[in-house]
Amino acid sequence: MALPLAVVWSQVAQQVTSGLAAGAIYASLALALVLIYQTTNVVNFAQGEMATFTTYIAWTIMNHGVAYWPAFVLTLLIAFGGGVTVERVLIRPVEHRPELVIVILTIGMLIAINGLTGWIWGPEVKAFDSPFPNRSVIVGGVAISIQDIGTFCVCLGTVVVLWLFFRFTTLGLAMRSVAFNPDASRLMGVRVGWMLALGWGFAAALGAVAGMMAAPTVFLDPDMMLVILIYAFAAAVLGGIDSPVGAVVGGLLLGVVINLLGSYVDFVGQELRLPTALAVLLLVLVIRPRGLFGRVVVRRV
């Protein structure tokens, strides 16, 4: 510890902020997983590949000369439509089959979409533009990259917009009611099937946000979301797979912890980040099986 304390602190703060940016991406994808899990009770293993596919679509749109933000919005709309279509066409027919059937279907989708992406766009790695300048700002002696701030704000902004939607709109309420009790929702006049499809649409759009925010740093290739999806799973389980708040907090926490472990615990380094994250996850689940924010329903009869 030859360094003055102030320098160490600024380094830690820097690692924390870049961890928060990565964590926000995990949080978006984790929230997408939770959305689908809550409404359809399915773990969507294809979530990452769906995100990759839509990020390639964004890349293609931008390659046709469309500016970043219009392309961003257009991609979200396409992703939303794609998610709705996937639910209607692929998931709907197996809705009432055993869970294993649906799990195998989403794993099949993972492989199929991954193959399709490589077939359409080729296997070579592509650069993906970032909407944010590649500079840093100094806040209180801590250099924070604008890229990180932007990533964090876009991901968390999306989450907040989604939260407002679920909290305050009629459609959002109906979707929540379907997640809690589909049979009772039907008796309230809710078209349950469409609510499930909308859930997939929102999840796909969230995935697209995660993909577009991740691509400038991890670069565009057909497998780019694989590791991020594993982190997102870890985040979702850490927070409690049935808790949207948990998914977001879990994602941010995981991003920060992994970054700090990777930088300050020597044996972890770059290579052992993923296994370390999973070890941390395992530990949490042993102590608290329902995750940090898992639902405990208070119910009287």
Partner: protein, 215 residues
């Protein structure tokens, strides 16, 4: 089996367990597969999906009440209004419903799952009423509740019927309270209508008295 409910009427379905009372209600609301015809306000609804039946104006308070335990009292009421367009309906109907259940307004932010059984039953009733149904179907509203709560619920149902001409089809084990509220009743036995008639008439019927009224 055939039964009718006229507009503005309270009709009770009585009978032992397994007679098909609950199934009858579920057939009407489209939550169980069945054969036969069901006509509501001149329209065939036998093949309609539950959400379509609800939108046609039939409110079904099912066995177990079907509340959203994780949502607040107010959110449950919002869901009741969903069937007719949430916001406008809620603005118009919530004050009317709160007149019958004043305590609901005070506890609108409470999680529905934390209400007592009687309160939950009343919330389920209130939620159905917010959607201004033209037929209200209640499945065993008295189940597991204290006698005073049961009387309170049936008093409100009678009041609604007198005030607004609410049409009600109620399934009940407790024949006494049901016959007290209903104008007519059907007694079901193994999927058939065994006895039917006006409530006063059924009260005098020896079989009904022995099996269901206990005197």
């Amino acid at each position: 089996m055939s039964l009718t409910v006229a507009e503005g009427e309270i009709v009770a379905l009585l009978g032992p367990n397994g007679a098909g009372k609950t199934t009858t209600l579920r057939a009407v609301s489209g939550t169980v597969r069945h054969t036969g015809e069901i006509v509501f306000e001149g329209k065939q609804i036998a093949r309609s999906k539950p959400d379509a039946v609800a939108r046609a104006g039939v409110a079904h308070v099912p066995e177990g009440r079907g509340l959203f335990a994780e949502l607040s009292v107010w959110e449950n009421l919002r869901m009741g209004a969903y069937v007719r367009g949430e916001r406008r309906t809620l603005r118009q109907e919530a004050p009317r419903v709160f007149k019958y259940f004043p305590w609901l307004e005070r506890r609108r932010d409470q999680q529905a799952g934390t209400l007592s059984g009687g309160e939950q039953q009343m919330l389920a009733l209130a939620r159905a009423l917010v959607g201004r149904p033209r037929l209200l179907m209640l499945d065993e509203p008295s189940l597991g509740l204290a006698p005073t709560v049961v009387h309170e619920i049936f008093r409100i149902v009678k009041e609604l019927n007198a005030d607004d001409g609410l049409t009600v089809l109620v399934v009940e084990q407790n024949a006494n309270v049901a016959l007290d509220a209903a104008a007519r009743a059907y007694v079901l036995e193994v999927g058939q209508v065994a006895i039917e008639g006006e409530s006063a008439e059924l009260r005098r019927h020896e079989g009904v008295r022995k099996s269901y009224l206990g005197y």
